[in-house]
């Protein structure tokens, strides 16, 4: 019997604005402790919040990318609780009137994971526990976050992964966050329950603060099993908050502080109601880049495979470059260049994010056209591209007019005959059934032609001659 997994995700995403949400301190990562702080984000007596317009713009971009309705009157609320990383003893967030509601992310299967709300809030500071002391760094305090809450529409681990990857993809494309889970700019809480099909929803548990996709998958897997076992054995489950244990992939209950808390939400009296008019939204909509789903569809229409398209749209700068090259170049050939030689020349993920190769997209497009038109073969193209990537020089530096002339049929036949004559052993091996020997003959032709010959044509010609 399969048990239904009913799962929703709450994702906290750090916005990449220059300054914090409620003060003008920089959001820059990695500074010395308590140097990106001011009376406001330290919660000094008499300090007041000062809302950053960019946080609204970024949140609205996220909302538009995720098919949300943008609420045109928003406000901030106080979530009151005490913790050493929270200077004011309340987090300023949006409980009553969030900035976006009712969106969705469509999975490849066509299923929509509905987004209940997106709201703005401030991050807390950082705590380091060491030697019986707690060290508090308020640099991260008041860094802007958006919290994206789904409906419990997710029914499998794969769907959870796909949702989160698509979420990252969209938010990166509209450049509101770098969404790096490992660096903490994206954190995920999982809410799930399990029930037998046809029966009412089970008891919900929440697993907090997953900071990698694979941890999230493991957590869901573990928790699902735990619920299933409990249901099978008729053991009670408690609605609770749990933490994920990275060491063994299990989850365990957090102490009840969270549940006992009554946050006493009420509207923050230090910030007014804020009206977002149509023009504000339209101005943002105008600057929205093409969204990944549409880019992918374009690539698919041009003949790329789904897998290749996914790899290219994963990084905005890569797809921006690629889309520019596509205007004049050949799609399939360009994708082999990109996913082959170019990606090979880029070692790290962050280099892909910051994609900045020496080859201008127009040059790449021209190269692909040369290959398409048969003026150069794939091998020559690959070699040339490798050089271009290193030097940034034009393909013209590497491919001369005579290279492009190629080999006429007569010359090719002559070269093949020469190869056959000079390599009797290979011919004999091939006739004896060793297919690999053919490669040696083709190689001889390529050497003769200094790489100009078309390998496929050469192969065919040799075969014809041998027969």
């Amino acid at each position: 019997m399969t048990y239904n997994l009913v799962c929703g995700l709450e994702t906290h995403v750090e916005l990449s604005t220059k300054t914090k949400i409620f003060c003008s301190c920089p959001t820059a990562f990695g500074s010395d402790p308590n140097t990106n702080v001011c009376p406001k984000c330290l919660g000094e007596p008499g300090s007041l919040p000062l809302v950053n317009m960019a946080t609204f713009i970024y949140a609205i971009k996220a909302g538009l990318a995720l098919n949300c309705k943008i609420n045109q009157e928003v406000s901030f609320d106080r979530k009151n609780y005490t913790y050493p990383d929270l200077p004011k003893a309340y987090q300023t967030t949006q409980f009553i009137q969030p900035i976006c509601t009712n969106g969705y992310i469509k999975l490849n299967s066509g299923k929509k994971i509905r987004i209940n709300r997106i709201h703005l809030e401030e991050d807390a500071g950082k705590l380091i526990h060491s030697g019986g002391n707690t060290y508090i760094d308020c640099n991260r305090g008041a860094v802007p976050l958006i919290e994206i809450v789904t409906e419990p529409d997710i029914s499998s681990i794969e769907e959870a992964r796909e949702y989160l990857e698509k979420l990252q993809l969209n938010l990166r494309h509209v450049q509101v966050s770098d969404c790096k889970m490992e660096e903490g700019s994206m954190r995920c809480d999982v809410n799930l329950s399990v029930n037998r099909p046809g029966e009412p929803l089970g008891v919900r548990s929440e697993i907090k603060n997953m900071n990698s996709l694979s941890f999230m998958e493991k957590a869901i897997a573990y928790e699902y099993e735990r619920h299933v076992t409990a249901i099978k054995n008729n053991e009670p489950l408690v609605q609770e908050t749990r933490r994920f244990n990275e060491a063994d992939g299990s989850t365990s209950a957090m102490r009840d502080k969270e549940d006992a808390n009554d946050y006493r939400y009420f509207k923050d009296p230090d910030s007014p109601y804020i009206i977002i008019d149509d023009i504000f939204i339209e101005d943002i909509a105008k600057t929205m880049p093409m969204l990944p789903e549409k880019i992918k569809n374009n690539y698919l229409e041009m003949g790329l495979s789904e897998q290749d398209a996914d790899l290219i749209i994963k990084y905005k700068k890569v797809s921006d470059y690629f889309s520019s090259a596509l205007v004049t170049g050949d799609p399939k050939i360009l994708s082999t260049y990109m996913l082959g030689e170019i990606f090979r020349s880029i070692e790290t993920e962050s280099q892909k994010e910051d994609f900045n190769i020496l080859v201008p997209y127009a040059e790449l497009a021209e190269l692909s056209n040369l290959q398409k038109e048969g003026k150069i073969n794939a091998q020559m193209a690959k070699k040339t591209l490798a050089e271009m990537l290193k030097s940034g020089k034009s393909w013209k530096e590497y491919i001369s007019k005579s290279d492009m002339e190629g080999i006429d049929e007569g010359t090719l036949i002559a070269m093949c005959k020469t190869a056959i004559t000079e390599n009797p052993m290979a011919v004999a091996d091939f006739k004896a059934g060793k297919d690999k020997a053919l490669k040696a003959l083709i190689g001889a032709v390529m050497r003769q032609s200094r790489g100009k010959a078309n390998a496929v044509q050469a192969e065919q010609t040799i075969l014809d001659l041998i027969k």
Binding site: C25, D32, M53, Y135, P272, I275
Partner: protein, 96 residues
Amino acid sequence: MITEKDFDNAAANALLYFDDEEKKRLMKDMSDVIEFVSVVKAVKSNKPTAYKPLTISASDLREDIIGNTLSNEDALSNADCADDGYFVVKRRSKGE
């Protein structure tokens, strides 16, 4: 009249301790105030549950420009305990 349960709950959330005498006195004071303000319960109103003395436009919000920060020294200047640039609090202390 405020119940002891509600009082204890409020004290836990307020992070305040009271001895028995204080608790007794404060429970009476609080009950007096609660009784006084409870007139609001009986009053019917159709007015909104939002008080809006001021609304502003999103285009009036602050520009995303870095402003002045405090020096680390100033930031820590009023802290009882600071070390290496951090605010420090002992998780458990034997007191002085």
